[in-house]
C-alpha cells in the first residue's frame, strides 16, 4: 500500500486511473479542473490507456459520455457548478438510458454573482435527474467512493455522481493511502458490459417515447434507483471487507444517547464533530449525523438512528427560495414523516458561496437545536452568518 500526499481532486484522479477507465470526456471548470488535468497527464504519459475526448462544453462532455457508455466502455467525467447546470438535460438522458457513467461533481455555488467557492446548490439542482448521489468529505473518502462508484454504477446500471466540496476537499492536501491495485482490479474488473451497442448487437436508443410508453420507460429508472438501495449496501460492505474501511449510507457520531444533533452533508460535518466533542466534554448530549448517500436517500436508516432523539438541526448549504424549506431539510422532514415520535427539526442555511462557518456558529446551531428539542418547537429557518 502506497501513501501519498494528495489533494481531493488528485485522489479522485488516482481512483479513476486505478479503475482503468476507457473514455474520459471533460471540459475544465474551477474547482474541478485539476482532476481532468491530472487524468490528461496520466493518459499522455501512457500510465492510463484511455480515450481522452476534449470537448467544447459540458453539454458535449456528458453527451460523449452517454454515447461511449452505451458501447459498454467504462466512462468518467468531472464538473462543477455551471458545468453541471449546462449538463442538465443530458443528465436525465444518462439515467433513463441506463448508462453507468461516473462523474465527480466538485461542489461550487451557482451564479450570480459569479462565485467559484463551495456550496451545494449545483448538486441540489440535479436532485431529480435520476443519478445516484454520493458525498465524500475527505480526500481519502473521495478516492474510495470513486472506486465504489464504478462498481455501483455498473451493477445497477445508473450513473453515479460523487460530490466533494470545492476547495475544502478538492484542493486540500491530505495523506491518502492508495488501495492495492490488484485488489481494485478484482473489485471492479474491466469486463465489457452485456447488452450494449456493438456491431453485432444493433439497436436504437434515445427513441421517441410517446404517452403510451414514456411512463413505463421512466419507471424502469425509478425502479432501478429503488433497488439500488440494497445493492449499494452490499457493494459497500464488499468494499469495506476488501479494503478495511467502514463506509455506510449515514455516518452517525455520538448518536447512541444523543438528545439533539446536527445533520449535514459533506465537509461541514467535520467541524460539527469537533464542536460536538467539546460539548460532550461539558456533559451535553450532542450528536452529528452525516448523510453520505443523498440519492437514494436512506430515510429508513435515518429514522432508526434518530429514534429517541428530540431535536435535529438540519444544515443546508443550498436554498430553495419560496419552498417550505431547503432541499436537505425537505428530504429529512418527509423521510421522517412516518415516525411515531418525530424529533423537532430546526432548519439552518450556512456557508453559501463559500462563506466560512465558524466553530462559534456551530455552537450557536447546536444551542438553537437544543432549545428546539427542549421546547418541542422549532423556529423559522436561521440563515447563519448573514449580515443585515
Amino acid at each position: 500500500m502506497k501513501r501519498l500526499g494528495l489533494s481531493g481532486n488528485y485522489a479522485v484522479a488516482y481512483a479513476v486511473k486505478m479503475a482503468d477507465v476507457d473514455v474520459i470526456a471533460a471540459y475544465p471548470i474551477t474547482p474541478q479542473t485539476t482532476i481532468v488535468e491530472k487524468l490528461s497527464d496520466f493518459v499522455a504519459n501512457g500510465e492510463l490507456d484511455a480515450e481522452y475526448v476534449n470537448v467544447e462544453s459540458e453539454h458535449s462532455a456528458m453527451s460523449a459520455c452517454v454515447g461511449a457508455s452505451l458501447t459498454g466502455a467504462r466512462v468518467f467525467t468531472a464538473t462543477s457548478s455551471q458545468g453541471l447546470a449546462y449538463m442538465h438535460e443530458v443528465l436525465f438522458m444518462a439515467s433513463a438510458l441506463r448508462t453507468p457513467i461516473v462523474m465527480t461533481n466538485v461542489n461550487r455555488a451557482l451564479s450570480a454573482p459569479l462565485n467559484i467557492w463551495n456550496d451545494h446548490s449545483d448538486a441540489m439542482a440535479e436532485r431529480d435527474s435520476g443519478w445516484i448521489q454520493l458525498w465524500a468529505s475527505s480526500a481519502q473518502e473521495a478516492l474510495d467512493t470513486t472506486i465504489e462508484a464504478f462498481k455501483i454504477a455498473e451493477d445497477v446500471l445508473l450513473p453515479v455522481m460523487v460530490n466533494i466540496d470545492g476547495f475544502i476537499v478538492s484542493h486540500t492536501y491530505e495523506p491518502v493511502t492508495l488501495p492495492d491495485e490488484g485488489e481494485v482490479k478484482r473489485y471492479i474488473p474491466s469486463k465489457p458490459l452485456t447488452n450494449r451497442l456493438s456491431p453485432r448487437l444493433a439497436y436504437s436508443v434515445g427513441v421517441v417515447g410517446p404517452p403510451e410508453y414514456y411512463y413505463e420507460m421512466k419507471y424502469q429508472a425509478v425502479d432501478a434507483m429503488e433497488r439500488s438501495r440494497q445493492r449499494i449496501k452490499e457493494i459497500e460492505a464488499d468494499f469495506n471487507r476488501r479494503f478495511g474501511k467502514d463506509y455506510k449510507d449515514i455516518n452517525a457520531y455520538y448518536m447512541e444517547d444523543a438528545e439533539y444533533a446536527l445533520l449535514a452533508m459533506g465537509s461541514m460535518t467535520g467541524t460539527a464533530r469537533v464542536v460536538a466533542e467539546s460539548l460532550r466534554r461539558r456533559g451535553e448530549r450532542a450528536g452529528v449525523v452525516s448523510i453520505r448517500w443523498f440519492r437514494p436517500f436512506p430515510f429508513e436508516r435515518l429514522a432508526e438512528i434518530l429514534e429517541g432523539v428530540r431535536g435535529i438541526g438540519v444544515m443546508d448549504r443550498a436554498v430553495t427560495p419560496g419552498g417550505p424549506s431547503n432541499p436537505l431539510f425537505v428530504d429529512v422532514a418527509s423521510g421522517l414523516y412516518g415516525m411515531a415520535e418525530r424529533p423537532v427539526l430546526q432548519s439552518f442555511v450556512a456557508g453559501l458561496g463559500g462563506r466560512d462557518v465558524s466553530t462559534d456558529e456551530f455552537g450557536m446551531m447546536f444551542s438553537k437545536t437544543k432549545e428546539a428539542a427542549r421546547s418541542g418547537r422549532a423556529g423559522p429557518c436561521i440563515y447563519v452568518g448573514l449580515r443585515e
Binding site: L97, Y203, V205, Y213, E216, M217, Q220, A221, D223
Partner: protein, 97 residues
C-alpha cells in the same frame, strides 16, 4: 393502428431501447397530415427524385414502374412536391381530396 396489448415496464427493453430493426413500420403517421401528395401519372417522368427525397420512405415504386404514395407512412411534409421537376406532384388538402 391495430389495438394491441401494450407492454408493461418489466417487458420493455431496458432504457426504452428498440431491439428490432425497422420497427417504424408499426407506426401509422397518417393522422399527422393536413395535405397529401397526389401524383399525376401523365406528367411523371419516373426520375425517382421523390423516392430519394421522401424522409419517410413513403414513395413506393410499383411493379409496373409507377410511383405511388403509401399513405400510412406519408406525413404530408410536401418535400416530394418540391423535388418533382415536372410538377407531377400536388399537395391536396385532406378533406377536399
Amino acid at each position: 393502428m391495430s389495438k394491441r396489448r401494450l407492454k408493461g415496464w418489466k417487458e420493455i427493453p431496458m432504457g426504452g431501447m428498440v431491439t428490432e430493426p425497422g420497427s417504424s413500420v408499426e407506426f401509422d403517421v397518417s393522422a399527422w397530415r393536413t395535405f397529401k401528395p397526389v401524383i399525376d401519372q401523365s406528367k411523371c417522368t419516373k426520375c425517382g427524385l421523390c423516392w430519394i427525397y421522401c424522409p419517410e420512405a413513403a414513395i413506393v415504386i410499383k411493379e409496373d414502374g409507377r410511383y405511388e404514395v403509401d399513405l400510412t407512412f406519408c406525413k404530408g411534409c410536401g418535400i416530394c412536391e418540391r423535388a418533382c421537376a415536372p410538377r407531377a406532384i400536388t399537395m391536396v388538402k385532406e378533406e377536399s381530396a
